[in-house]
Subunit: 356 residues, 4 copies
């Protein structure tokens, strides 16, 4: 059961049908997951924004850096040109090179791309080294290509899967989470979908309720001891709203407010990145074009606020969903990380009268 199934209603906007990033039409997610007895607990999550050749049909995009202690690949070209030209792949920190190489392979596989000699892979990561034997660098190019191949529309698996297989969030088992929001028809009826790889710390709040404090388990609960290094949070935001790269940057920045509402605090050691892109068909950017010009019909600055709210709410809920779906895991070197105790959490939410 997901958070909302327990009666936890985050925010004021309604969710999409699946309450997932795949509510954005055409978006596909593919995941490969490894849980092995020898300490491998990692994986790959691949996100395809549309069905066409992405290199030939780039999409407007931007990346916001909440805290840059991370190894995300692809940042500067996205920021310079305002678009992405590959799928988005998430994995663990030390597998970024492998995933990048695999995305180049993936791009070269298409006959249409036979003359392509430059590709900007977008790879996000968090460090699952607490539960996964990360130095072994288990992930291969084939794993990444498999995740890309398996990508499909429909519900998205959450928790200890894909790039979230071995992550830790607020001291509990983290993982993949997703959520979405729909704008009212009068405001365009657009969908905003968010997918997170949660691996960060702070003082957990669930819909405003101080669960971390109640459970006496949070980043600062033993303040005089050295607190543990935190991981990071990767946040992917997709929308069918027609937005310029410039305004996608502003959209991406709002995701950090959603992370803040869960009690996240963007610790020094955290690599918090938000990748935002528009899937609007009319905004596709042809790799080659006979025209010097391109024409964009985009939302005005004045009409962004509901999208901003949607990103904040969906990010908050995606993080909470990742915690609700994750399961207790005993990983590398017998490190055990408990799942968020759902029963106790629901009790706490009831105590605070926050369950419908």
């Amino acid at each position: 059961k997901r958070a909302r199934d327990y009666g936890i209603e985050i925010g004021v906007l309604r969710t999409g049908k699946l309450n997932a990033i795949t509510d954005v039409a055409g978006v596909k997610v593919g995941q490969v997951t490894f849980h092995q007895a020898d300490g491998v607990h990692t994986g790959v999550t691949a996100i395809l924004p549309h069905d066409k050749n992405i290199f030939q049909n780039k999409i407007p995009a931007s990346i916001h850096i909440g805290n840059g202690f991370g190894k995300l690949a692809g940042y500067s070209q996205v920021e310079e040109l305002g678009n992405i030209e590959t799928p988005i792949v998430l994995t663990n920190t030390l597998s970024v090179p492998t995933a990048s190489a695999a995305i180049i392979d993936y791009t070269f596989q298409s006959p249409e791309n036979k003359d392509v000699r430059s590709v900007n892979p977008i790879v996000g990561e968090t460090n699952d080294g607490g539960l996964n034997d990360i130095r072994r660098r288990f992930i291969t190019k084939e794993h990444v290509l498999e995740a890309l191949k398996k990508a499909q529309t429909g519900p998205v698996e959450e928790g200890n899967v894909g790039a979230g297989a071995g992550t830790v969030c607020f001291g509990f088992k983290g993982g993949i989470g997703t959520s979405s929001r729909i704008l009212p028809k009068s405001k365009g009826g657009y969908t905003v979908g968010v997918l997170v790889q949660s691996n960060f710390g702070g003082v957990l709040q669930v819909n405003g309720v101080p669960v971390g404090i109640e459970l006496k388990k949070h980043k600062f609960s033993k303040i005089d001891e050295a607190y543990k290094d935190d991981g990071s949070c990767m946040i992917v935001v997709l929308t069918d709203a027609p937005l310029s790269a410039k305004n996608l940057k502003r959209l991406a920045a709002r995701a950090m407010l959603g992370l803040g509402r869960t009690g996240g605090m963007a610790a020094n050691g955290s690599g918090d990145y938000v990748i935002a892109a528009s899937t609007a068909e009319d905004l596709r950017i042809a790799h080659n074009s006979e025209s010097m010009y391109e024409t964009f019909k985009v939302l005005r600055n004045n009409d962004l606020d509901l999208l901003f709210e949607a990103v904040i709410e969906a990010t908050e809920e995606a993080i909470i969903n990742s915690l609700f779906a994750a399961e207790t895991l005993t990983g590398f070197e017998n490190t055990k990380v408990e799942a968020l105790p759902i029963d106790k959490t629901i009790e706490i939410l009831k105590k605070y009268n926050r369950i419908k």
Copy 2:
């Protein structure tokens, strides 16, 4: 009574003695306030980081832009050089030029500064044009100089005072608010103080409790209508922790997470700026020096997380304090903005079991 006096305890760190920006040793705040029958409801809030000649004894500083729809003066020089050389003044949007000119006067008044021919005034603003006859530009240089002169240590007046005289926050009367946090001795015992000028919108949460939804008054409560343009939030963060300008930038960025926790969403029309500076005596930067070098003993990257948490908590509480202190005001053209109904808010907090 302030929020904490009602039993509202935000966060996990303890506050300073005054729970105010003036808990940071040496910091002074001065305010002038105008409430006139002819529609003038505005003012000036001046913050002095230390007692010496600030131009001759600059302090490390940085400015984070949460959303740049605003007219803050001084940004680029602070970012290039990593310091501020004047007091920080807050006022209304259209009075930024006047306040900037006044800060130049203020700097020139000192005989020590008699050869100074370049000054970088730091002036923040929000737009109080909903309650104040802002086009009249009532504020004069004398008002600003008076605020600077009146600046003192000790408790800080909150609510409809100074630069917060005419501001609106979450649809209720906003204003000036302040709060502070103290780090444990083992972590340096540093103080972080925050002062806000609250004038923005969203869906109000008080310590995680959905007050805006319960009161049926928030930015998206009538979603099919055009929602009103929001104002902005100015956030000033001072600390005696020894931080480089680079890490003050990171500290400043965290304040936005505190704003997010109150339900703020950094709307398109919002000018959300965070000015962070260190008052640590050893980090003063002499305007003139015989040495080519300067020596800084600063906190390592690894030791910032408690400061980050402190900024988030103090920002959240400063905003809530601004709402608790503000009073219903009928302003320009008889526009009336109600104060946050404290009784009802307390009731709601009790309903959600969030009052100690």
Copy 3:
């Protein structure tokens, strides 16, 4: 005579008819200049990008910061929203507040703007305190309004005029300079116009010829002495090419390469800012609109290189023009700054075979 009249041909692209920023259709420049016996040598240069109400018809724009030691007003809002809504005014460092206030007045004068309560004035500056009694802050709002009123199409006066009345460049008298470039018809036939307020240092090169070294007068000619603090360079780039704010940012960045080619080095003390905007009629941004959308036909990323080259060449030539037009001035406290010795410079250029 301007540089080109002496046979100095900078770059490979052709200039516009006036070789001035006013080659961009509709652009107007107005200047007021003060040279007084009591040490006042300063002024105002105002640039109007088009003839309509600019607040109601904003234009895409971006500001690049080459080195941020300066007091330019308006940066963050331009960067957040991607447009400017006022004329661009240049003046001296300490008159930025006055000029900002004047632009608010100017905007409020229009009946169409009667409900406007927020204006983002764009004011650039350099420090003319070497020749001008800058602490006196001679410039008034009326002076600025006069410059705006006097603005006209046609040739632009260069040298010791307007905001360049008292500036110093490469140790010689600097000032206002301008230049333009025209793209070939096959590439759109667009015009790029540049206007500079030159007040910076380095090792002067004229079209690649080491004039500063030959004249034994440059920033590092007496290397063991303390070298003098430099001023700054304001660069305004206007074009009728249809460019997004994002690509105007990239265009603006190239102006610094043109400054580099004159021997400029963006010294610590320099405030080097480039304001770039598109005057393309189809890209005007209505302040109010009944539509949620706006449609832009803009140049593709792939078709920017000639515009980049145009900006570099026109910036280089505008700086050289400012030096050729400026005249020896004895200013405040009898400080005398010689003009670039044109005869000797031409001789040097001939020695290096660089005169056609």
Copy 4:
């Protein structure tokens, strides 16, 4: 023979003994080069800033993005934390993942690093796909490790070597180039070293002389045709001057002015990155430390100008050196790129009286 051996003296500061990045004490460069009959013309250039374990002894650093159309790895962490923790490796565009993986291997090889689970590899690239069969991705991890192993102090090979094996610059064969500058004793006597991988376009100037125009070979010589996509320029700046990460950012930005002086224009397709780092021993940042604090003695803002000038001059000369050392190459698919015709270039320089 290098440019200076022909009497070409760029700038006003003197060079180091080797006129190379290795004039900075302790800096080592290692290169592997592949020129094969089957179209492989690529390689690796590795730069070690000091002799110790770099991960355990990080150094202050910053990266400036001149134009971000590139795939450089490591940007965001350097900018967030202000340091680098690995050697710097340059290679071709599609081999960035391989080089990143190799740097992780390299870091893991050290027993001291046995607990390290996160590494931020710094890999720069330009696209040598015009002469090299780049899609083949010939470079292996072993090649990169070999370059790291071969790294040594002393003279640096220039031209068609290492990461410059297959690059093209101003339409001529480009490659690796290096240069250095020494500050006068009275200003600290610091050394600034620059190494470039030149692969970009524009209108070549050699020490201000319009060689590209004279040779009728430059980016815009056939303006009505589509001009070719340009490659990029990687610039590495090392210095023993004690600089904060913040001021290394400013230092890095100046390298673009040096590129501008060669006639470079940072084309749309160019990935122009400048990595600047300080090798000053006192500024090493321990990976682990028992203290919460670190103490830095760094140069004041006011004392940076000679370093800025040094970077500009050394960058200009390094690019020219890359062109002088490169040799005509017939590469992949029989594409032939001529070397800069040195005899004609010297003639042109003589015609312009620019040879001592």
